[in-house]
Symmetry: C2
């Protein structure tokens, strides 16, 4: 099975300094012979998310507002990958910065195109286990998100009730639960 091919790329838009959002138009040839002349392509930074679980099986979560979400959402650690940074290093950095936790065991839960048609960067998802508190977090971050330690049953119930309202957060929590169940079963 052959996939679509890019015949041409045209820069259309840079928002601000271009660090967070730019848009291209692609000419795309599809396997059935169709050619689309104005295929929108979104360029936004790759990011990581981390589900961190302590040794006594509590999940390090947040309750926080988020621009695209009405009201508050449950969330997990996340952030953009810096230039030249490996995804795992970004995940470890963000976990420490946002929560003050470190973890011994890191498992990669996959790297995903955020939008299968329009790109929008890659989401690298991680599960960190044997997480433990190491240092206080920066007070600036404290105001915007409330740190919560939730047991597995509460996390699962909240997930299935849609309380992790941002797609990569729900994806990361669900993948972490599948991975943890799978590890227990084998």
């Amino acid at each position: 099975m052959e996939g679509p091919r890019t015949l041409q790329r045209t820069h259309l838009l840079t928002v601000g300094d271009g660090r967070f959002l730019a848009v291209e138009s692609h000419v795309v040839a599809f396997p059935d012979g169709a050619v689309v002349e104005d295929w929108g392509w979104v360029i936004s930074p790759d990011y990581i998310n981390v589900v961190a679980v302590t040794e006594d099986e509590h999940f390090v979560c947040f309750r926080q507002p988020k621009y695209a979400v009405a009201g508050l959402s449950l969330g997990v650690t996340g952030g953009y990958i810096e230039a030249g940074e490996e995804p795992l290093a970004a995940a470890q950095r963000e976990l420490l910065e946002e929560t003050g936790y470190v973890a011994d065991n890191w498992r990669h839960l996959g790297s995903y195109a955020v939008d299968g048609n329009r790109g929008a960067g890659t989401a690298h998802l991680f599960l960190a286990t044997a997480a433990r508190w190491q240092q206080p977090i920066d007070a600036d971050d404290l105001e915007e998100q409330e740190l919560l330690l939730l047991d597995r049953e509460s996390v699962e119930r909240a997930l299935l009730a849609g309380e992790f309202k941002v797609l990569p957060w729900a994806a990361n929590v669900a993948l972490a639960l599948v991975a943890l169940n799978n590890a227990q079963a084998t």
Copy 2:
């Protein structure tokens, strides 16, 4: 906890006829007093995805190319919601169009902001059980995606190996596995 507020919206770009992609710049006031003048905001259509499971516990999947993905990916049913259409109706329509299957039981697995900062539409995820084949699918769709019936163990293994390469597909499969495990446990 108060969230960020939109002070102003400016239209920046429409790609093609605007059906799939437009971009705005927002002026956003954050709770800490900061104001960002050029916050990029992506407008793309809301969509559905469906994990359909047959009565003998086979998952209705695809193997297919996708523009934002290198090589082939495993996938699930998905599509944009049409004007005036309810998410559940879109999910039922797309399942029949793409696979020829119908299902008796539908469960909503949540509605998610695709990008917590920049919007990019809402993903509505569903689990359909007691799915059964009803009619042949349109030959045009056949060429682009190979239909596969995978047992639960194969789906879980492929998921944890990162073979569902698009974020909402992996999210939907992981959420479906959590929901199915949860239903068995209770």
